[in-house]
Each structure stands twice: as structure tokens, then as C-alpha cells.
Amino acid sequence: MSNRLLNWFKFASPASFYPLAGRMVPWFWALAAVFGAAGLWISLFVAPPDAVQGNGYRIIFVHVPASWMSMFIYLVMAMWAGLGLVFNTRLSAMMAQALAPTGAMMAFLSLWTGAFWGKPMWGAWWVWDARLTSELILLFLYLGFITLQAAIDDPRRADKAGAILALVGVVNVPIIYFSVKWWNTLHQGASVSVNKAPAMAHTMLLGMLLMALCFWMYAAAVAFRRVRAIILEREAHTEWASRLDEVMS
């Protein structure tokens, strides 16, 4: 193995990633706080009321970030699970494990905030609309991933089984995303896209983007904190774990 290849996989070792993750967490918390403060300020005080929905539309400032994050985290989780399967690296599987609960939480928040938005605007807490249903399936995929891994005793077998589930479930994410285009849905279509001007007021868009960044930084902070706990749990038998400052003190 050449030196360059060695450097590339250096942080694939749980022992070397553990302190790196620890150093990164405070930065993610700081960014989450800054984006959150700015985002909430705009969401609640700067963005004007909507012409049709009045102040009820402000749920968008948590609903869209949660929804985006639920999909994004799933893709990242599936990526790590896939890499773990291909390279047989334990840490990749640990990252997937660390992301799952946070992703599930985001999916739940997407459904919860969506329901509280739907009740006043559509008159219904829930409809079996394409997007809502596929987001619910996403939540079930997250929960399935978590419970499947919890049900298998051997951690490496659990990693592999979970990875297969995660990868198969990836097909659901584009379904959620394109559902409003492919089917006649109650859920509104895309107001924001990569190749068109946004169909919403600029302050509203800014608030939404800042809150999305806040949710993203929060998810990163929480996932890296969780992976540290997972690393210690799964590497408890090792020399380096028993020699950690936190353990010696």
C-alpha cells in the first residue's frame, strides 16, 4: 500500500476518527446556533405575512428544512452503509448507525409540521397523497433500519443487513422529490429548484435557507456526537478505548 492510500484511509480507523469528530462537534453547534438565530429572526419577525395564508405559512420555515434533511440524511446514511459494504470498513457502518435516529426524527418532524400546516389550510391532518405517503414510508425505512440492526446480535452482520435495507430504500427519495411532478397531488409543487427563479418572496426564501442550514449543522453535530458514543460501545474491548483521557480520569 502506498503512502497516499494510507493517508486516504487514515480516518477510517475508529480510533483516529473519534478525536477528530470530537473537535468538529463544537463548530457544528456554533454554526447551528448562528444560522438558527438568523433564520428564526427572519422567519418570525422579518418575513411578511402571506397574501393567502397569513401568518400560518410560517410553518414552512421548519417544515421544509425538516423535509429536506430527512431526505438528505437518508442519502448520506445509505452512502455510508454502501461504502461500509464495499470496503468492509466498520466506521462507515457506524456513521450510518449514527445518522439513522436523526434522520428518523427529521422525517417525523416533516410529517408533524406538515400535519399542523395541512389542518388549517387543507382542512385535513392527513391525506394519502403521493408525497405524504412516500415521506411516511421514509420514516418507516429509518425505523426499519434501526430495528433491523438492533435485532441482529453480531454487529458486522447487522451492518451488512442494514446496509442492504438502506440501499434498497434509496429509491424512495427521488419518489418523494418528484412525486409532486409525477402525480396529481394535494401537496403543492416545487417553488424552489436549481434551474428556475424561486417562486417565493426573497425574505421568505432566505429564512427558509437559513433554517435549512441550521437543521443541517444541527444534524451534523448530533450525528458526530452519536458516532462517538457508538465507536466507544463497539470498540470497548480495545486498548485505545480504555486509555482515553475520559476513561482514565
Binding site: G56, R58, I59, W112, F116, K119, R225, R226, L232
Partner: protein, 51 residues
């Protein structure tokens, strides 16, 4: 919130609640594994002392 208060605050509120609970849950998981590692270390040290 122009009559939409229940809905807006239930949404923001649930987010705030979970954003509070999740990190606390992780912290408690982390301290639990630290406790286990410390106990393990003490047990190993006692075993060495006996030998």
C-alpha cells in the same frame, strides 16, 4: 399569529423540544458507555493486582 397560533407554535415547539431531547439522550448514552469503560478498566487493574 393571526389565528394560526396553535398550528405554528405546535410546529416550532415540537422541533424545539426534539432538538433539546435528542442531544440530551446522546449525552446520557455517552456517559453510560464511559461508565462501562471505567468499570472495565478498574476490573482489569484489580485482576492485574491480584496476579
Amino acid at each position: 399569529m393571526g389565528g394560526y397560533g396553535l398550528y405554528v407554535w405546535s410546529s416550532f415547539g415540537m422541533c424545539a423540544l426534539l432538538f433539546l431531547i435528542e442531544p440530551l439522550a446522546i449525552r446520557s448514552r455517552y456517559t453510560a458507555i464511559l461508565r462501562t469503560l471505567r468499570r472495565q478498566r478498574m476490573a482489569d487493574q484489580q485482576e492485574e493486582a491480584v496476579q
